[in-house]
């Protein structure tokens, strides 16, 4: 441990230096290019142009072996640099976490938080003065000097991280990223140039959609629908309450003598209230993902943050309009209410239409698998943009699109496409999130501030008070209607989880009234920082202190799935007998409609009629197969897999009958034929390179080989179970292999890549196994039970086989974090 430490220290230090260098470089590149554009543009070109011409006319200039033209690639270059910076920050964050995890020093957590804040503050104060003179001295090469000067700082920061144990438990990633943003902003400012701010267009058009789409696509739809009423009440009534309470109280504060706020009128206060009162989905996601809270609370807070977008959009436009016009009539109020319905329902409509289109398109992509994921992304993005065109709620549109599209797309696309969609969504959203938080930090340093103590402090306090009052008041009403009541703890977490974030900042940035804009913006930033830092950091200890129920770790088992379905039907039945149409009744109706029409139109092939339980079962088998592959060496197998086999469960009498429903001669031939033709096809396809198809890499080849070996070990192990009870056929190994047919797992294991299966050569895979089947038909005692194979069994096998050879459903169980 002690030996390793310096090396690790050095490495992390180096890492941070690299990060800082990159950040400085990206900052300075923006700066350099900016100054080039303004000053060196037309003036610099004029002397060169004639020179060029004369050169070309008089004598031929030597071919430039190395030329420099940064201007052409400036924009993409800077963008990539920023993204790279964001990614490295994220990586750095993780690296630090791992590092801290190793160094378990014995400090209390509270001390840790304190120290971190101190060290960050120290850094911030130090970053300014020490680097300023340097920057003024040589503006040409700021990056070099700053790396040197900031080296000590990073070392300090690094040491700070070193001493503090379990920092990852205390500080959410969002806080660290904002901290990094502040640092980068400080450095850029110290160079003496203007730092880039979080541009509203950039934010709403490029950074926000990936996060929302990711959230919408993976929205736990059942929990969302079950709590729809509560979420809507919080999102609509709660937000309205917050807006008017904060706006009104702020106005009251402004009336107090001697605080230099006399010029602020009621409408601007309300406008400010509408900006600052909405809970932010990005911030909520970032914090709540880390604390792993139970699904109900998560969906309540997160759902609210998604749905209050419509309210915010309407109120924002309304108040902005009014504050220009100056007067408000009753008619305006009524129109505002109408507008709210148009904005929210219109957004959902637009999203749903695009979602259906997307689902319908995915029905026909069987032959062009590589472009499947793009359809999902593009339709969703189009939904968002289309909604924005009419000033509808883009967020709701995106959510509706994702929710609508998902079940059908999942059934239609191949397993690989599904994985691609999932990874791309996660990747984009995590990059966006990182960028947003970094930009938030940078913009804080960059932006013009007008600090007014009274205004800022009253804003923060009012935000907290109105949130708490709103949640408590609304829960009183909601609990009358809810069956699962919200407890005091739940209320506290919902109130405390109301984080504000970058949406508020961007909206504040859009304000045109520049007299008070700066003051408003400063207050908004303070509220954001307060919620993200103070609430975000303390929510985890509080959750643990209050022993709030955490998220369930395990994935649903097959028994749970069976009983979930059973319960659904049971409750529907009981409701029907009771004679009133509740939640379950409508859910059942919707399901039936979905099965009867939508699935038929939107899902290709036989999968459209597949019941949910069967798809769940298939997914589960798939997952088990994957686990088997990933589980390392064959020696480990028994510990992972259940050591109970079907034989233990079967009645002893009937056990013999079921244990070996094996294959007849003709059936075997059939299977062989299918397999062989498939293999030949694979070979043919492998020979030609296709730009539109994925090539199989050698690694995958390896994996599949391992997979087969494991399967065989597994099968043999299982067979040994099968054969323990009927003692008369224990000794022949070939028989054992026959038996794995009823489990039909040989085929399900690798069906994700069945058409382009890497097993191009005659492999020990299924083909081998099948050939063993025929061999085992030879003289041995176990023939007797196999002789009387029922016809149905055969048909069933055929079905299974065909199903296994086709592309399976996506595997939901894989975990992404």
């Amino acid at each position: 441990m002690a030996e390793l430490q310096p090396a690790r220290c050095w490495r992390t230090g180096f890492f941070f230096c690299l990060l800082l260098f990159l950040s400085v470089a990206s900052g300075s590149l923006v700066v350099v290019s900016g100054s080039n554009e303004t000053s060196g543009g037309p003036a610099g070109d004029t002397p060169e142009d004639p020179h060029h011409q004369t050169n070309s006319t008089t004598h031929k200039k030597a071919f430039p072996v190395l030329s420099f033209n940064y201007q052409d690639v400036r924009k993409p270059f800077v963008i990539s640099l920023w993204i790279l910076l964001a990614l490295l920050m994220k990586l750095g964050h993780r690296a630090v976490m791992i590092l801290i995890g190793w160094l378990n020093l014995s400090f209390t957590e509270s001390l840790a938080a304190l120290r971190l804040i101190c060290s960050v503050q120290l850094l911030l104060t130090r970053a300014g003065p020490t680097s300023c003179p340097n920057a003024l001295l040589d503006n040409k090469e700021p990056s070099v000097t700053h790396v040197v000067s900031s080296r000590h700082e990073t070392q300090g920061l690094h040491d700070g991280f070193h001493i503090i144990p379990n920092i990852s438990n205390v500080v959410p990633e969002s806080c660290l990223l904002i901290g990094v943003g502040l640092l980068v902003g400080g450095i850029i400012k110290a160079i003496g140039e203007e730092a880039p701010v979080l541009d509203t267009k950039l934010f709403f058009h490029y950074l926000l959609p990936p996060i929302i789409l990711d959230a919408g696509y993976f929205l736990p739809i059942q929990a969302f629908m079950e709590n729809m009423g509560t979420i809507l009440v919080f999102a609509v009534v709660g937000t309205l309450w917050n807006v008017f309470f904060i706006g009104g109280m702020i106005f009251a504060v402004c009336q107090i003598e001697g605080v230099q706020l006399a010029g602020v009128d009621l409408l601007s206060c309300l406008l400010f209230g509408s900006i600052v009162s909405a809970v932010d989905p990005v911030a909520v996601l970032a914090v709540f993902e880390e604390i792993q809270i139970n699904e109900l609370l998560h969906i309540l807070v997160f759902g609210e943050s998604l749905l209050n977008d419509a309210v915010t959009v309407v109120l924002y436009h309304l108040f902005e309009e009014f504050s220009h016009a100056g007067t408000v009539t009753v008619l305006d109020g009524v129109l505002g209410v109408v507008c709210f319905f148009v904005v929210s329902l219109g957004g959902v409509m637009v999203g749903a239409i695009y979602g259906l289109l997307g689902a319908f398109t995915s029905r026909f992509t069987t032959h062009t698998r590589v472009i499947e994921p793009l359809f999902v992304f593009l339709y969703s993005y189009m939904a968002y943009l289309s909604a924005e065109v009419f000033h509808l709620s883009g967020i709701m549109s995106l959510i509706a699109c994702g929710v609508m599209m998902r079940p059908y797309v999942e059934a239609n696309v191949s397993h690989k496409s599904y994985t691609t969609i999932k990874y791309f969504l996660k990747m984009w959203s995590s990059v966006s999130e990182t960028l947003i938080f970094i930009f938030l930090g940078v913009s804080t340093v960059a932006g013009p501030h007008a600090w007014n103590w009274t205004f800022v402090i009253s804003t923060v306090i009012l935000c907290l008070v109105s949130r708490v009052l709103g949640v408590i008041g609304l829960t009183c009403i909601i609990n009358k209607f809810r069956i699962v009541k919200l407890t005091k703890k739940d209320q506290f977490i919902v109130a405390y989880g109301g984080l504000r974030g970058a949406i508020a900042f961007s909206l504040g940035f859009l304000l045109t009234d520049n007299e008070r804009k700066n003051m408003f913006l400063t207050a908004i930033i303070t509220v954001i920082f307060f919620t993200v830092f103070v609430q975000g950091m303390t929510i985890r200890p509080l959750v643990e202190l209050l022993a709030v129920k955490k998220k369930k770790e395990s994935k649903p088992s097959i028994n749970e799935e069976i009983h979930t379905q059973f319960l659904g039907h049971l409750l529907t039945g009981i409701e029907d007998i009771c004679g009133h149409y509740g939640h379950h009744h409508w859910k059942d109706k919707l399901n039936r409609f979905n099965k009867a029409y939508l699935k038929k139109w939107l899902i290709a092939g036989e999968r459209s009629t597949e019941p949910q339980l069967i798809s769940f079962y298939n997914k589960m088998e798939m997952k088990q197969a994957m686990m088997l592959v990933e589980s390392g060496s064959a020696a480990k197998l028994p510990s992972i897999l259940p050591s109970v086999s079907m034989q233990n469960i079967q009645q002893r009498g009937s056990g013999n009958r079921r244990a070996i429903p094996s294959i007849s001669k003709s059936r075997e031939q059939e299977i062989r034929k299918i397999l062989r033709s498939n293999l030949q096809k694979t070979r043919q396809r492998l020979r030609s390179y296709s730009r539109h198809d994925l090539m199989i890499d050698p690694f995958e080849d390896n994996v599949s080989e391992i997979r087969f070996r494991k399967q065989r070990v597994e099968m043999e192990r299982r067979m040994s179970h099968y054969l323990t009870v009927p003692t008369n056929r224990q000794e022949t190994p070939s028989v054992r292999k026959v038996c794995f047919e009823p489990e039909h797992q040989v085929f399900t294991y690798d069906n994700s890549e069945s058409p382009r299966d890497p097993r191009a050569r005659p492999d020990p895979g299924p083909l081998d196994a099948i050939s063993l089947v025929s061999e085992s038909q030879g003289p041995n005692q176990s023939r007797e039970p196999r002789a009387k194979v029922p016809e149905e069994q055969e048909e069933q096998d055929q079905l299974k086989l065909s199903r296994c050879l086709s592309d399976p459903g996506p595997n939901q169980e894989e975990d992404l974090s």
Binding site: I483, K552, S554, N559, I577, P611, L613, Y617, Q647, N648
Partner: protein
């Protein structure tokens, strides 16, 4: 008139104590009961069988069976009856009451047990205390009975996998010679631990007249 009124009140009080329903809920359910029975004193299987709303329910048989199962009457009797009166009807319904804010943890636990017992009894058709593989297969088959051919064929495999799972969860190290009899109630509790039955297995019993008002469902 007055006498019958007080008698009904008294009877309601009795039922309310037994089942935990409120007067309004009992009144509503009584109306429904009369509607179903055709103003008779009792309901027979045929009454429920002919309900059009149930026609599409895949587990219709089990649901109806549960109403006529004596095990669900909070008494120690077994077997099934052909006719049930209002009290028995209410008893079955009482298994679907939701917990409220004042329910303590112990009460919740008892509630969960009771609800699980109801489900268990639905599966355990021969009342021998275990759900055997055959019984479990039947459950899954019924569940898939509305999904055509494929459903029926896969049902067996699913039931087998589920049974295997139960066995491997509850008896992790089973020797090859041992034999798993079936799911006992303890095992049943174990496998459905994650489902939070106490808060999930409920329906909304309306407090107001069902025929005049049909709202309130949007709030859940």
């Amino acid at each position: 008139m007055g006498a019958s009124q007080t008698r009904a009140e008294h009877q309601y009080q009795d039922l309310a104590d037994k089942t935990g329903f409120s007067f309004e809920q009992i009144k509503n359910l009584y109306q429904r009961f009369q509607q179903l029975s055709g103003n008779e004193e009792t309901i027979s299987r045929a009454n429920l069988d002919s309900m059009p709303a149930l026609a599409n329910n895949p587990i219709r048989k089990q649901i109806i069976g549960a109403f006529f199962d004596k095990r669900n009457q909070h008494q120690d009797e077994v077997g099934s009856c052909d006719q049930i009166g209002f009290e028995q009807f209410l008893m079955v319904m009482s298994h679907f009451r939701p917990p409220n804010l004042r329910t303590t943890d112990e009460e919740k636990e008892a509630m969960r047990k009771e609800k699980l017992r109801f489900l268990f009894n639905m599966h355990d058709s021969d009342n021998d205390g275990t759900i055997t593989l055959a019984e479990y297969r039947k459950v899954v088959e019924e569940l898939m009975s509305k999904s055509g051919e494929i459903g029926q064929e896969t049902a067996k495999a699913i039931a087998d996998a589920a049974m295997l799972e139960v066995a491997s969860i509850n008896v992790p190290n089973m020797g090859p010679e041992e034999f798993y009899e079936g799911i006992t109630f303890e095992h049943f509790e174990e496998i459905l631990k994650g489902l939070e039955m106490e808060s999930r297995m409920h329906i909304r019993f309306l407090d107001v007249d069902t025929l005049t008002m049909r709202c309130g469902k949007s709030q859940s």
